[in-house]
Amino acid sequence: MRRANVISGVVLVLFGLVTVFAIIPWQIDPAPEGFVSPRLLPTLMMGVVIALSALLAFNNRRAGVADDPDAERNPISRSEIMALVKIGAVFTIALGFYLAVSPPAAGAALIVGALLALGERRPLVLVLMPTAFLLVLWAVFYKILGTAIL
């Protein structure tokens, strides 16, 4: 965890510095005369983030790994990274269906894609689940609540 803390601390310091010196001046215009600057609070908060992140990285770097058997442990397991990639891919495909085909097709793609990504292979489940979900949603919104959501 210590190694992860050092890395996350450094990443946050870099993010903070880029935000303070590039994004805030680029994205927030100076205030008119007599007003409190709209840059004030974002800059202050980023200042806090930079200072604390530097402290986080420094503390964990200084503590070293010798006295902590867990120091090198990766807090994110391989299976979690795989799940993140798979579900990210499923969302990408579903959004593609939304933009290119139709929202119901995107909904069906999301459910079928997620089922496949999580290891479900039974054809009946792959057909019935998206059908049932979309029908229930249609009934709830269009019939019970009486409102169109698309």
């Binding site: 803390n5 927030i28 409190v36 840059r39 609070l41 974002p42 908060m45 990274i81 799940a83 999301l110």
Partner: protein, 523 residues
């Protein structure tokens, strides 16, 4: 009192009552499913309430929050896998009882303790919030700014294993709240030319992404472990072990009373959360017992202590929200969005401006307690079957609901992009132990914090020495410094310990704070 009678008249309308029942039932099921806690349930359900009457909508969401707090005991007892971390102490004695064939008895005691804790805590909310709000109205911008800073620092310091990470999360939350048009000058801030960001980042897709989608990804990464524990569920109960005996009631009632008191006090203090309440109550009961060595082997008092405190936290955590407008917990932060959507802005003024709607909320909360008893009593065996459904069949449906929830607020696919972006942030925040609870609370109080900060600068005429005429603000600034110093010193003396699991509650991370006495090893 007359408002409360009107409130009951509104809530006892059959349609409203039906929505409260739907909420409690849905919440109970969500709570019973490991990883799908009350925060996820409420966040996903907010958009579904857009088209309901305010009373029905708020009743539905309150029902979900209350139902899931009670439902989390089901998986804790039957699977040794708490639906939420706050039910981890319930598993310590509930699971051994289930293995002894006394699952029904354990489930019933869990339910009764939950309902009593919840009901009494709701009464405390009703009695405390309005009088506190009257004092809150005397507070000016300078004092409010100091109180908000203190609350954020306090919550950030206590959330997660690292105080530094908690404070970073809080600062990032406030930072993201500044995106959009600035309220005084109308200068766009960090919108990157996107019109959708002019109104700022919307709370609903942000909360759904950080809480629900990120949680589903983590669950998907631990699918095999969770499904294995589901299959290993203990079964078989004999008839005489299904009821709570009179002798057990006599032993448990004082325990429930103590648990309710502890839970209510913990709930009122911002940032502590249900996990602290349930662990403290369990610990206090164990210390007070004549046979502390038997705890962990199937003592019914353990369940009563944990569940009464766990459920007492939910209503009392609304006290700072209603009295001061400060969300003390993640559930309160999410409920703010729902309250505002339905015309009730939490804070001291709501008691003057919307007394009827406040009374409706109170009446809905009290009714939800009774509905919780009925739903839990008659539906327990059904819910016990639902939690056996493999997670790979649950996650796709939840992901679809998340998309619909995010989409509905703006009817724009941009909200789904926001949801996905914050799901990624939420995933890494969970895994790297940055408190997403503090982030959310920072995000929610951000606009108020900025407004009061700007007003304070003008009131103080840019001179910090002018603070001398604001002793309350000085007191809170000193309190902030002392709190950070004390908690920081405590953390330095008690170094971070690696969690050893009891069940898979460590996967779900809504309540991240670990009480020092019990540490992470009970999660």
């Amino acid at each position: 009192m007359e408002h409360l009678i009107v409130g009951f008249r509104d809530v006892l309308d059959p349609l409203t009552l039906m929505w409260v029942t739907v909420g409690v039932t849905l919440g109970y099921v969500l709570g019973a499913l490991p990883g799908l806690g009350k925060a996820t349930g409420v966040a996903v359900s907010i958009p579904l309430t857009f088209y309901l009457q305010p009373v029905a909508a708020l009743g539905l969401l309150i029902g979900i929050a209350k139902g899931s707090a009670a439902g989390s005991a089901v998986s804790a007892i039957l699977l040794n896998t708490p639906g939420e971390p706050s039910s981890a102490p319930t598993a310590l004695d509930g699971y051994p009882l289930a293995r002894q064939g006394k699952a029904q008895k354990a489930l019933k005691m869990g339910l009764y303790a939950s309902v009593i804790g919840d009901f009494v805590s709701t009464l405390i909310l009703i009695l405390l919030a309005a009088p506190l709000a009257r004092y809150a109205l005397l507070i000016g911008p300078v004092e409010l700014c100091a109180i908000l800073f203190y609350s954020l620092a306090f919550i950030g310091s206590l959330s997660g294993a690292s105080m530094i990470k908690g404070l970073i999360a809080g600062a990032l939350g406030v930072f993201f709240a500044t995106v959009g048009l600035e309220t005084e000058t109308f200068i766009p801030r960090m919108t990157f030319g996107l019109l959708e960001l002019n109104d700022g980042i919307s709370l609903v897709p942000l909360a759904i992404g950080m809480l629900a989608v990120a949680e589903m990804v983590v669950q998907a990464g631990n699918l095999k472990t969770l499904d294995r524990e589901t299959r290993a569920m203990a079964d078989g109960t004999s008839r005489e072990d299904r009821t709570v005996l009179a002798s057990e009631w006599r032993r448990c009632l004082p325990v429930i009373a103590r648990g309710t008191l502890i839970g209510s006090v913990v709930g009122i203090l911002p940032g502590l959360g249900a996990s602290v309440g349930s662990f403290l109550s369990y610990g206090a009961t164990r210390r007070a017992s004549k046979t502390p060595e038997k705890f962990g082997t199937g003592m019914i008092e353990g369940i009563a202590a944990a569940e009464s405190a766990d459920n007492a936290v939910v209503p009392s955590s609304l006290v700072p929200l209603f009295a001061l407008g400060i969300p003390g917990s993640v559930i309160a932060a999410i409920l703010i969005a729902a309250f505002v959507l339905h015309g009730l802005t939490p804070g001291p003024l709501m008691f003057k401006q919307q007394p009827r709607l406040v009374a409706d909320v109170y009446a809905a909360m009290l009714c939800a307690s009774f509905i919780l008893l009925a739903v839990g009593y008659f539906g327990q065996s059904v819910f016990a079957r639902i939690i056996q459904v493999p997670l790979r069949l649950i996650i796709p449906g939840v992901l679809l609901l998340c998309c619909i929830g995010a989409y509905m607020e703006t009817s724009s696919v941009f909200s789904i992009y926001v949801m996905l972006a914050f799901a990624l942030i939420g995933f890494f925040a969970r895994k790297l132990d940055f408190s997403f609870v503090t982030f959310l609370i920072g995000f929610v109080i951000g606009p108020n914090l900025e407004l009061s900060f700007r007003q304070s600068i003008q009131i103080l005429d840019h001179q910090i020495l002018n603070l001398r005429s604001h002793p309350i603000a000085i007191a809170f600034i000193v309190l902030t410094a002392v709190t950070i110093w004390l908690i920081g010193r405590g953390r330095t003396r008690k170094p971070y310990r690696t969690p050893e699991r009891a069940g898979t509650a460590s996967i779900s991370a809504e309540a991240e704070y670990q009480p020092p006495s019990t540490g992470r090893n009970n999660r």
